[in-house]
Symmetry: C2
Subunit: 158 residues, 2 copies
Amino acid sequence: MPTEQEHFMAQALALAEEAAAAGEVPVGCVIVRDGEIVGRGRNRREEKQATASHAEMEAIAQANAALGTWRLEDCELYVTLEPCPMCAGAILNARIRRVWYGARDEAFGACGGVTNLFMEGFPNRPALVGGILGEDCRRVLADFFAGLRNKEKIDPQI
Amino acid sequence: MPTEQEHFMAQALALAEEAAAAGEVPVGCVIVRDGEIVGRGRNRREEKQATASHAEMEAIAQANAALGTWRLEDCELYVTLEPCPMCAGAILNARIRRVWYGARDEAFGACGGVTNLFMEGFPNRPALVGGILGEDCRRVLADFFAGLRNKEKIDPQI
């Protein structure tokens, strides 16, 4: 029986798998208020050629539209990969109160991987828990990058 | 005779004034490549009720569309107020090579005010110069907040 956190992270993971199938770095995100999903997002950076189209930003934009406000203080955010500085900053700006992530990101993570923006003295400090379905979240990324390397071996032009 | 930096910051300042006239916290931004403006943005957070609609994010989205790519490595960014963590993170993600800002932000600044994301060990480190037309950039913000306080005195319902 999955916990509530595993249930919502599985939804985010399904979005990450959708991103992988579309050739995007597989990251997915859902935003939850009162036990209901109010925003979903997955990485669409290549599709849109938009710097900001990370999973969290897409989910925040959808939650903004659903709730009619830029303030998401009653919301919790689930994301398969530790947020980068842009997304961690957007979480701070939205006043999201709690963040659950799957895999840690030692290269770009701004919630402990490289730095921790939630501990830097900004006015709000979301609660933070990592490692929810961590192994599954890591695997979808590892499989994606292994697939890219194999493609390069077959066709070095890619 | 204004310098090149003052010339572009004046364009950002005009966008900040447009934001103030629309009742938004007055911040404006332009993105420049090869001496030409390829993206303009101003704060539209209240109008759109979108967490991400800061001046820099709007300008980055416009530059993405103009150039057809999420990578802005040949670009420089001018903004009237020191970027917040979200916008500084987007600047890192876009690989923007240089940032010129006007006023420092001791409450939310992520380029020295509270923290400095450009010095944290992420893969790229944009060059950074503050204080371009700093006094003018500070004044447009101070006037806006003084106006809000006066309104509250006249009508405490606001």
